[in-house]
Assembly symmetry: C2
Homo-oligomer: 321 residues x 2
């Protein structure tokens, strides 16, 4: 089992790598090598097999071809610039998220007789308001950001390249991943994590939106689980619609905070300071709230069932229990 | 009013040009020039204003930039390779339909302070089975062809470029255009037109599918009407979802034939010979049948109301009444 991970220096890439190194196996096969790609070099973790970092811009001539030259059996394509950056830097977003993805897919296509399982991280950002009460699997995605647009173009290419037999793709529409470890960031969605993570670390956190806002989440642990499950799914079971909206926990901000209080007590809870930010509220109001995800559940994808479980995953995985 | 039409040598491009030349006006403004683009040179019709043919491959460096250098007020982007060809020649389809479209949109984007109305012809080929009984405006498009994929990518770019203020785009998901004038062609959809057109000309036509097949049509005259209406629509009225499924006549093949018999008599009707072609049936079975098109109707797009009306449009426009 040879594995390639693009965008491997990101939060999910690092957790996926750690899990694969710990397991030593994927799809019941012994891992022989993992090639870790990112746009900049970083340090590979120790592993009892070949683990190599390859730095480069996927959209640059020859980079994608070099990545697939060793014909990895499974490719996890996580590389991309995030939502906020794709919105502020138009050219960078299209280059990384659209041209980079297409270059990778074309490199696979041009390697004759090579049809790897390719797991692609799309996002619920492909959806734009107005939404029904619950978003079903047949609801039309109409992105309201350049990031969502680029991710959806990647989905379409993945579906067509798979239909034509150039690769065996699975696209995963990840929900908001919460609780993100590490420092607070400036993403509009950052507060969903920081209102949990910071109080648990004894620090104050700012809540910039109404407690009535409903959004949908899964833990980093679930995100890794989604990726591994997608790598192992039988293509026939998936069928011709290769992009899948994943299960997640739909919860109001009030529900998130209540779960935190139940787990960590009133003192922790009081570290959340409400300070409405109309700019962030305007963005978050257009985000999807809850998904049906019937197809994903039928295919065996599993997320947490309530927000308390998401908090406990954070405590176990990041805070040593 | 300066106008650019890409793919102007095609059937719809020629009819649109003829209509604009006859009207002399668009959006109540006097037409000053029409630039007609196609991949190969062709003869421009006579017109009482500047009418110029510009030949070139939109995806080639500099071609799109030259087309928009004169800053046309309205661009009709019809250029592209058809469904069958995009399926047999993967590279050609992606180059013409995706790279060509993106090159045109980027040329507009890079012309500072220039925000033309751009009318883009997409297609109901963006939809793939399985379908509900009636396809609503919120039903997710999942193409089952490379052509449908490329058209949908164009839609997404149009929506994002419009949202960001780079252009003022409207994408039109054209139904099958029927009755197509001219010779029978080899497209899988060709029979929908030939079973009407050939008998009306006293010639035999072959019906390769079951009479129970339901599909959805509009006349070439309606197609031109859609384009002109889209050119004149107020952007605010359209809102943030810039791609529109158009009204059309959903009818079974039996219904088409019955309408023909009522208009042209039993003798004409007997010129249709049934000879099932499993290859064509397999394709047509995955095509969409009927659309709600509520949003388009609300925006004032008008198609025929029954198939007899489509036949009469053909008789009037192509057979001199």
């Amino acid at each position: 089992m040879r594995i390639l991970i693009t965008g491997a220096a990101g939060m999910i890439g690092r957790k996926l790598t750690a899990r694969l190194v710990a397991d030593g196996m994927l799809r019941k096969e012994q891992i022989v090598s993992i090639h870790l790609h990112d746009i900049v070099a970083f340090e590979a973790p120790d592993a009892p097999f070949d683990i190599t970092v390859l730095a480069g811009d996927l959209a640059s001539e020859g980079v994608a071809g070099a990545l697939v030259a060793g014909r990895p059996d499974v490719i996890f394509h996580l590389a991309g610039v995030v939502s906020g950056e794709a919105e502020t830097d138009f050219d960078k977003g299209y280059r990384a998220n659209l041209d980079g993805t297409r270059a990778l897919f074309d490199a696979v296509r041009k390697a004759n007789g090579y049809v790897p399982r390719l797991v692609y991280t799309s996002s619920i950002a492909v959806f734009g308001a107005p939404f029904p009460e619950t978003i079903g699997d047949d609801f039309a995605p109409v992105p309201l950001t350049s990031y969502g647009t680029q991710k959806l173009v990647g989905e379409l290419l993945l579906n067509d390249y798979t239909r034509r037999g150039f690769m065996d793709g699975v696209g995963l529409r990840l929900p908001t991943i919460c609780v993100r470890p590490g420092k607070p960031n400036l993403a509009a969605s950052g507060f969903f994590s920081s209102i949990i993570r910071e109080p648990l670390a004894g620090k104050e956190a700012v809540l910039p939106v109404s407690r009535n806002i409903v959004h949908t989440h899964a833990s980093p642990r679930s995100a890794v689980g989604f990726l591994l499950h997608a790598a192992a799914l039988a293509g026939d079971a998936i069928g011709p619609r290769r992009n899948i909206t994943l299960p997640s926990v739909a919860v109001s901000v009030a529900g998130q905070i209540e779960a935190l209080r139940e787990i960590a007590g009133d003192e922790t809870f009081r570290l959340i300071r409400e300070e409405r930010d109309p700019a962030i509220e305007a963005i978050v109001n257009f985000w999807p709230t809850r998904f049906d995800a019937a197809r994903a559940r039928k295919l065996g994808f599993v997320a947490e069932t309530d927000f308390a479980e998401i908090i406990r995953a954070h405590i176990e995985d990041e805070l040593g229990g």
